[in-house]
Amino acid sequence: MLLVPTFFTMALAGIWHGAGSQFLIFGLLHAAYLSINHAWRIFRHKRGVKPDPHAQPALWAVAVTYLSVLVGAVFFRASSTGSALTLLGGMLGLHGSGVSPEFVAAFAAGGQTLRTQMLWPLTYLAWLAALYAIVWGLPNTQQIMRRTDPALGRILPARWPAVEWRPNWHWAVVGGATALVAILAIGGTSEFLYFQF
């Protein structure tokens, strides 16, 4: 009863994004994820497990959901199913570690060369850490606007009540500042540099 409409709808949603088998797979993957979610809820209901509306989700559940969406996103962004599979293979380490011979030589030599070689990987790792901290640590927009019922269904409260929007002057300042940044960022020019920094 659930599987057929879910797969049909998600397959259509997938190919709506583009003509390519990778979009169909993207849709079917999400249909599979949703079907598993429904099956899990039915299974728990039959076992008499009542969900706690205030419970934080288990770490493993968050990890499984994140990884599932990540795999789907690879198909969504890839130019073809073949390149998506190649990319997934790379993510699983099937094409080697990606460490260049220059990096290995620099690692062996140490000193300034190593610091130069390490600069970009460390910069990327720092960016990843900062962005993951935002994704996992900060509330999303639904949590921020929770008091105004922005969505159907249950919205988990944010860890800190202070980040929930209220019509007070603190939030007015935040709103004004956010609007300011949004306006300033419209139509700007990026930097072209003859200079080497």
Partner: protein
Amino acid sequence: MSFSTSSSDLIERDAPAGARGERSGSECGRYLLVAGLVLVLGFAAAWIWSARMKLAFLDPEYAAWTAKQQLVASCDLGDNLVVGDSRAGAGFLPAALPGSGANIAVGGAKPVELYFLLHRALSCQRLPRRILMSIDARHFDSVDTFWTRSARFGTFSTADLRLVGEVARQTGDRSLFAADGSRIFPAPVREWLYAHSFPTLNFASMLRAGIGLRWWRNEREVRLTLAARGQHLFGDAPGNDDIADEGRLDRFSILPLEKVFFERMLQDAQSRGVPVYFVTTPVNQATAAHMSQHLVDGFREFLRGLQDRYSGFHVLVAPVPALPDRFFGDYFNHLNAAGARLFTTTVREALQQRLGEAAAAR
């Protein structure tokens, strides 16, 4: 200011409906007032910062540009005024030329930019004895960084940009106005917004600069550029063998609008009795090996035609000389310090010879 208890909802649910609506409306009004004030005041502050404090957030090329504008504003030009693009900015050492001098060549400059810079310089009471002009072949047929750097730095007033628009209409050459930077704003206000440093133009630089952390470095760059009389290096690697853009051009061509402004420059100089010596800056051997003969011939022919029509225009170094790769500091074929010394010496010798010949002819 307090217009809501810390834990209240937008609408106080216990109050009667009328009072609830009034309170809600009043709270919303005050909320929007504060948000609007933050937006308006913040935007005003960003605009003032964008217009008045560019040295705090733009890249070091702006610092060099500022130093050159100061030389022009104070009419401190000396005997030899160097005008041109970034290769000229790096390659000409005014102190090594005969007599005094100033290098006001700026990155990405094409005839349209140079016309306005030179026009200001030639408004000084004490004029330079000669102009050394250098623009590479690519900059005659390019929109390059007209909006994204020249206009953003403040090269043009609103009237200047309107004149550019007028020439574009007359020549039918809309290339500058089809460039990315032009389409950011609608035509009726574009010139004014650029000339007044509208803050959205500089927001990316402000972010990259941490709002104002480039101030100290740029201040130092201004002092160094002034001390070098406007000359400043770009890349200073001990050599470069990348093929510059000339290596990819099939032939020499000039945009109609650039041709108009180039000739206006020559007319300006001629009307003030200042001779112009055109000097082609060198490319590295890698580029020279890939350069089309059509390009070189076309460039030479163009300059020769101008020489025939303007008595004060002389080609001092014809297109396109080459130097060993070790004299170049980056991909753009900017000369490094050693290259600038060698090149300026060559120019000085050529200039002295030409001046000697002219004196002998008199």
